[in-house]
Subunit: 335 residues, 2 copies
Amino acid sequence: MCVLVGTEDKEVITLAHGSGGKQTARLIDEFFVPAFHKELHDGALLNISGQNIVFTTDSYVVQPLFFPGGDIGTLAVNGTINDLAMCGAKPLYLSCGFIIEEGFLKSDLQRIVQSMQQAAETCGVSIVTGDTKVVERTGANNIFINTSGIGILMSEKAIHPARIESGDCIVLSGDIGRHGMAIMAAREGFSVDLKSDCAPLFDPVQVLIQAEIDVHCLRDPTRGGLATTLVELAEQAKLSFHIEEEKIEVSSPVKSVCEVLGFDPLYVANEGRFVAFVPESQAAKTLKSLSEFYEKPAIIGHVHNRSGDRVIINNALGTSRYLHRLVGDQLPRIC
Amino acid sequence: MCVLVGTEDKEVITLAHGSGGKQTARLIDEFFVPAFHKELHDGALLNISGQNIVFTTDSYVVQPLFFPGGDIGTLAVNGTINDLAMCGAKPLYLSCGFIIEEGFLKSDLQRIVQSMQQAAETCGVSIVTGDTKVVERTGANNIFINTSGIGILMSEKAIHPARIESGDCIVLSGDIGRHGMAIMAAREGFSVDLKSDCAPLFDPVQVLIQAEIDVHCLRDPTRGGLATTLVELAEQAKLSFHIEEEKIEVSSPVKSVCEVLGFDPLYVANEGRFVAFVPESQAAKTLKSLSEFYEKPAIIGHVHNRSGDRVIINNALGTSRYLHRLVGDQLPRIC
């Protein structure tokens, strides 16, 4: 007799596969890499008749649809613009695909499309093509939005994990955890002064490029948070990152909500922050440029070619530990 | 006292808003045109540093996911490729965004991504960027796929409804109704020899362009069927179309399923057929070129500058009637 233990979990998709952490990476390795014969990057660099175009896509399934600091429409525009910006591309055009549940309030749809248009206008981006599908009612007042984006590469050199070098400074643009915790506070009905950090990132990136800073890599720590982002980049760069925990700014309301709900801010999603890998000689210039946009940009660590492709975080007490990708599902449907 | 009658229907999204017919057009006019300050076309023509790029997006929510002649993966690749082809663009790159319900079978996901890769390979198109989200279980074994596509314009002159002229021949590439009726037969469990016509359309379009046929307009009659497509084009061209019903080929199995379920084949979705508007002098050449790909391409009608922007269909008995857009919802979730 053969007893199968836990087969169900192995054979079906779970919420953890959408968390942006370890299971998401496994899903990609197991299904998408073999089928598509390659890893699908957040932003694909395409050469179309001599033009360097960046192409990206993202679906947004956040709940609640409206939250302090934005809504699913703001997020759908800024999120995709940010994927382009993180490749060093100026966002030009967006598509939008709506999947709407039967029974969805037209007034909510109107708020959402207005948010999308405002967010696009703020960034000088045009929404040029769209599609709408309606699916049967499940009871939730639900809408899913896909936006795909086209941008044109601004930086002369590639901005890519492969360009991260030993000695690079790791700069974080601001405090972390606002988006994920604002969503969770809204879900739980907490009365706390906390807004999502949801914001477009192209302007600060453009300032870095215009200041002739040789930016090696950029990444916005969304699903899986800062910790998962750093682990992914260390693995891709095949280098180790040494991080100083006390340099990472976490606001009081984020700390409070994290404590109440048992979350680690390092694993909480952000929608308006990024890490930049720059040569140490240009770190001061980077901080100065970013201070035009952010209150507290900080050098949170350095890249080394020792200790393998690991992320080591040192705390204020002088002890250190390895960071890992998010395992399981900390925050479902936050983007 | 004020009594509101039927407000609920007016204030919420219904399945009819996703049918591709009259209510879809109204939804676009009511929400997307005012917010985005323009109509969002199926394919947007973009000039990026002198390159004529076409950009399009579509979400796929078909049920059942697997049907005779294809699956949601085949459809998601071919459907978006076809939107590009209908603009006269050679499809180059696709993005794919998956929204997967928790509990979805991994084996089904594997079949779907393999179908996508095969369909892309057949057309020489690369899937270059992707995203996966997982949403809470509703009980259905559900997956939604968005694909966005980038193509490069092949035709020297625009292929667009504005170029339709009085005197143009209206050529239909093959028989109609296969996709919608294959889906409905699969849902109802009918035992009938009927496959979806789901297929990529770029090769026949390329042959028309290479044969130097001055194609004025192309359109694939998907949601809403041939009738809705013709009405939309007549309105956009501000011309009238006179159609001969007996020239429109409908296969026996499609006729049978339509009769049993009470559908009109003119309103049933296709995923591998198109109408071409060409000058009468080039109609014979168009039919000859299309006969490389299709059994029965046919001239189904002509364009006139009388009778307003209406579609008039004459039947074999010599009587004629106006065609209208699909009203209500004939076929939910067929693409």
